[in-house]
């Protein structure tokens, strides 16, 4: 993965830059290599770079001053939340300032009358739920890193989770933000009311991976927790049957709170790890969770049971109490560490496919698994077609990481070919940057970069992420159609 060439002129100014940042955030500058080490990578730990300097501001005014200074001095800035990105979104740059939002860790306002929470961006996803759960509320998007990941990072990545089929992604649950542009302007969009005035810049900023602005405050909507939840654990001989069952559940008009699938290697890894009672001989396992009033849950559980049986379920258990429901989920939730136990390293992919293409992608993966001699375990947000194949490898074996990455790229390209996308919820970052051309042509990517230019004309915010090729804004802005050049269109007219 090639990152933009570090700017030697900027690096030569390092001492002065550190002094200038200290003047803005006296208690927030980290410049010793040892102390910066924790920031050298995010959740995609295969990539590491020591930043030029780390700054941890405490106020929006400091963020604005830092960005204004960097913007004027032409210094690159990489924003960072909790550093749990799985796509290298917070990978530092050797000639860049790493701007950490870790000190923005306060919940600012809880408003039950409007069902909103306003928080600083460094507050963790789970802390929002913790702040409101005594009143029966929760924040719906639940990425599996929710104990650690920050709400600001969730917005940057448009994080999903197990429950996004029914309750939406981050973008569907954010009402307002305050963010700072690279010129140091502080802009507020949205709030406790619904829908943007003017262009939906809130929707645009969500999932923009830190390339457009730095978020300094967030308002999200909270929901009343469903009164009951029950889960069905269904084993199938083949994953095709599980796939058909998923389609049949949705075809019957049922939108479960969660619908997760695991393949045989994932089932056995989980079973080895925590002995959760999964059927080891099953080719695929579905966990279908229904939530809502008890009468509804009981009714829908029966319908799901009928559908599963009609689709060839070889085993079926319905949770009878909370302990049992937790046990059904325990294996799924432990899937990543479980796989980590049976392999020195694993690489987690994140493509999405139209659900009907599941058998096809699985058969291609098992073919490639043999070809590369690398095992794959699959966990899958089956309800919305989001795949998480885990490729098992050993980073200490020379060449194995490269082989794994090649295998991973083939999976993602196949997702696109089958009508899906490169990334469902982990982001493009550096990881999938060079695959963007598989989904978008040059005109598509140029338009996305023009939008970037509207926010950051010098390309100083998180460069090297998302876009495979960086163009200068002046070049992108040039018009190719000139006055009087085009013929009067020969199309139907009145």
């Amino acid at each position: 993965m090639r990152m933009p060439e570090p700017d030697r002129d900027v690096m030569a100014q390092r001492a002065a830059i550190i002094e200038n940042l200290r003047a803005i955030a006296p208690n927030g500058v980290i410049a010793e290599d040892d102390e910066m080490r924790v920031y050298e990578s995010d959740g995609l730990s295969a990539y590491r770079t020591l930043p030029m300097v780390v700054v941890l501001p405490e106020t929006t005014a400091q963020v604005a001053a830092i960005l204004k200074y960097c913007g004027e001095a032409g210094i690159k800035v990489v924003p960072r939340g909790a550093g749990t990105s799985l796509s290298g979104g917070a990978l530092p740059l050797a000639d860049g300032v790493l701007l950490g939002l870790g000190k923005f860790n306060r919940v600012l306002d809880i408003d039950y009358d409007n069902r909103t929470v306003t928080a600083q961006p460094g507050v963790t996803n789970l802390a929002i739920t913790h702040a409101v759960q005594d009143q029966g509320f929760y924040y719906a998007p639940d990425p599996s890193s929710q104990i650690a990941c920050s709400i600001g990072g969730n917005i940057a990545e448009n994080s999903g989770g197990v429950h996004s089929l029914k309750y939406g992604l981050t973008t569907n649950n954010v009402l307002g933000i305050e963010f700072v542009t690279i010129d140091g302007e502080v802009i507020r969009i949205g709030g406790k009311h619904l829908d943007a005035e003017g262009y939906d810049l809130l929707g645009l900023l969500t999932g923009s991976e830190g390339l457009l602005g730095v978020i300094t405050e967030v308002t999200v909507r909270i929901l009343q927790k469903p009164s009951t939840a029950r889960a069905v654990l269904v084993g199938f001989e083949k994953s095709e049957q599980a796939g058909t069952c998923v389609a049949a559940v949705i075809g019957a008009g049922i939108i479960p709170g969660g619908m997760e699938m695991m393949d045989n290697p994932a089932i056995n890894a989980a079973e080895d790890f925590i002995n959760c009672g999964y059927p080891r001989d099953a080719g695929a396992l579905l966990i279908v969770e229904l939530d809502g009033p008890q009468v509804e849950v009981d009714y829908l559980i029966e319908r799901v049971r009928e559908i599963a049986e009609a689709n060839g379920a070889t085993s079926l258990r319905v949770s009878q109490n909370e302990a049992e429901r937790d046990a059904f989920w325990a294996g799924r939730k432990a899937a990543f560490p479980a796989v980590g136990r049976i392999s020195p390293d694993y690489y987690c992919m994140d493509g999405t496919i139209p659900r009907a293409k599941l058998p096809e992608i699985l058969s291609r993966m098992s073919e490639w698994s043999e070809e590369y001699g690398l095992k794959v375990a699959n966990v899958f947000h089956a309800g919305d077609g989001n795949l998480h194949p885990l490729i098992l490898y050993d980073a200490n074996k020379p060449g194995e990481l490269e082989k794994t990455e090649e295998f991973g790229s083939r999976i993602l390209l196949a997702c696109v070919e089958l009508g899906g996308v490169l990334t469902g919820e982990h982001g493009v970052g550096v990881e999938k940057r060079d695959l963007m051309g598989a989904m978008f042509n040059e005109e598509d990517l140029n338009q996305q970069q023009r939008v970037k230019c509207a926010f950051d004309p010098d390309g100083l915010l998180n460069p090297g992420k998302v876009f495979p090729e960086l163009h200068r804004c002046a070049e992108l802005g040039r018009m190719h159609i000139h006055k009087g050049q085009m013929p009067f269109p020969d199309i139907p007219r009145f």
């Binding site: 408003d111 009358d113 409007n114 029966g136 990545e157 448009n158 089929l165 307002g176 542009t181 010129d183 502080v186 709030g191 406790k192 009311h193 005035e197 003017g198 939906d200 810049l201 929707g203 645009l204 969500t206 923009s208 009343q224 469903p226 009164s227 949705i250 075809g251 008009g253 939108i255 009033p293 009468v295 509804e296 829908l300 999405t352 139209p354 659900r355 009508g419 996308v421 490169l422 990334t423 469902g424 493009v428 963007m436 989904m439 978008f440 005109e443 598509d444 338009q447 996305q448 023009r450 939008v451 970037k452 926010f455 159609i481 006055k483 085009m486 269109p489 139907p492 007219r493 009145f494």
Partner: protein, 405 residues
């Protein structure tokens, strides 16, 4: 001479836009023209009629997705969805009653371009939450696509959000792909009679803060309720607060009964079923109860629900007004006397955030007033730069939203 181009293919849209760029001659984008009176009046000499880019190109009920040309009539999409027991969850409004033309004429491109969302918006999200991907011709004369046909997708910027609600000022849509959902098996509406002002907002908040998954809740003051075609509502003789519950049969009955108990302290309770319930929510969705008299200016205010009764009071204090609340209070529809200025209405929204849009007024008023919430300072400049990134020569619906945008 004014020309209306009616392209039948994306390539023809491209030809028309490129010509418009080369002639520096702006285009007004229309589908069937039902929302032409929405926004600031246009001075474009030529028209780009996208209604021939019609038809459903993709519908996979089990994948919960539908793709169509922008000119596809909404009515056609609703029929196709109904045949599979599915729906557009965001319940887009029909401007027919407010603008005084027939209902059922709008197109899906218009729905997304105006980000139209009805009473179910508080549970299901807005139109913008459902657009998964699109193809378009930008004002630069480029064919640009974004998004895809799957719900879980974070590949690249979410430009679908930008084109939703852009009122055709960024790009001419040539195809849209969106998420649909199963239609509820059963719907019931609990009515509470007699709660007004702050108490009505409290009643809606109590419903929303219960675990009963309210799909929509609205409040009609007495004079608006009296206009309803539903006898239970018009005959109430006072204000009516309504709470809609949807889902599978046993669940709806259970939740309705729980809500009746919970809301009894706010007033006498009644329940609407079937046709009555559907009629009532169509009246709320389309704001048709405010359609008359036709000289009234219609405003749509999106505000924090808890503030909304104060905002309504401030509006009434400023002159002759009829209003009602949707979205648990957070959406105020107001029909105001022509003497009201935009400044008066926006002053009523007050300091706690929110925005006001002038939905219906004569063209001269819409030309002079800020139809959409004015944006100043850094946000205004940013919006202008976003416009320029798609349409630097301002050939697509220039000025429809803001002067200079």
């Amino acid at each position: 001479m004014a020309t209306t181009f009616k392209p039948e293919t994306e390539a023809q849209v491209l030809d028309a836009v490129r010509w418009a760029v080369s002639e520096a001659s702006p285009l007004e984008l229309v589908g069937t023209g039902t929302k032409r009176a929405l926004g600031r009046p246009m001075q474009a000499e030529n028209t780009l009629d996208l209604s021939a880019l019609a038809g459903i190109s993709l519908y996979e009920p089990e994948e919960l997705i539908l793709g169509a040309g922008p000119g596809t009539p909404l009515a056609e999409i609703e029929v196709a969805l109904a045949a599979e027991n599915q729906m557009l969850p965001f319940e887009p409004m029909d401007f027919g009653p407010l603008f005084g033309h027939a209902v059922g004429l709008g197109t899906i491109g218009g729905v997304f371009s105006c980000n139209l969302s009805g009473p179910r918006r508080i549970k299901a999200g807005a139109a913008r939450d459902h657009l998964l991907g699109f193809r378009s011709v930008t004002g630069r004369g480029d064919v640009v696509k974004s998004g895809g046909r799957v719900v879980k997708n974070v590949t690249g910027y979410d430009l679908s959000k930008l084109v939703c609600g852009a009122h055709g000022t960024l790009a001419a849509l040539t195809e849209v792909t969106f998420k649909v959902l199963p239609a509820p098996e059963k719907t019931r509406t609990v009515l509470v009679f007699g709660a007004t002002g702050e108490t009505a907002i409290e009643a809606m908040s109590a419903a929303m803060n219960s675990p009963h998954e309210v799909a929509s809740t609205a409040h009609l003051p007495a004079e608006v309720a009296a206009r309803s075609a539903v006898g239970y509502v018009s005959g109430a003789g006072g204000a009516v607060t309504a709470v809609r519950v949807e889902g599978v049969g046993p669940s709806v009955e259970h939740r309705c009964s729980a809500l009746r108990d919970a809301l009894a302290k706010f007033g006498a309770i009644e329940e609407l079923h079937g046709h009555n319930s559907a009629t009532f929510w169509r009246e709320v969705r389309d704001a048709s109860l405010l359609a008359e008299p036709r000289d009234r200016h219609i405003w749509r205010l999106s505000v924090a629900p808890s503030e909304s009764w104060r905002i309504a009071e401030r509006l009434h204090a400023a002159g002759e007004v009829m209003h009602f609340h949707d979205w648990a209070g957070g959406l105020i529809w107001a029909a105001v006397a022509p003497t009201f200025t935009a400044e008066t209405v926006r002053a009523a929204v007050g300091p706690n955030g929110g925005h006001a849009t002038l939905v219906r007024a004569p063209a001269d008023i819409r030309a002079a007033a800020q139809v959409f919430e004015p944006q100043s300072g850094p946000l205004g400049s940013l919006s202008a730069r976003v416009k320029a990134s798609f349409d630097p020569e301002r050939v697509l619906n220039p000025g429809r939203m803001y002067p200079g945008v």
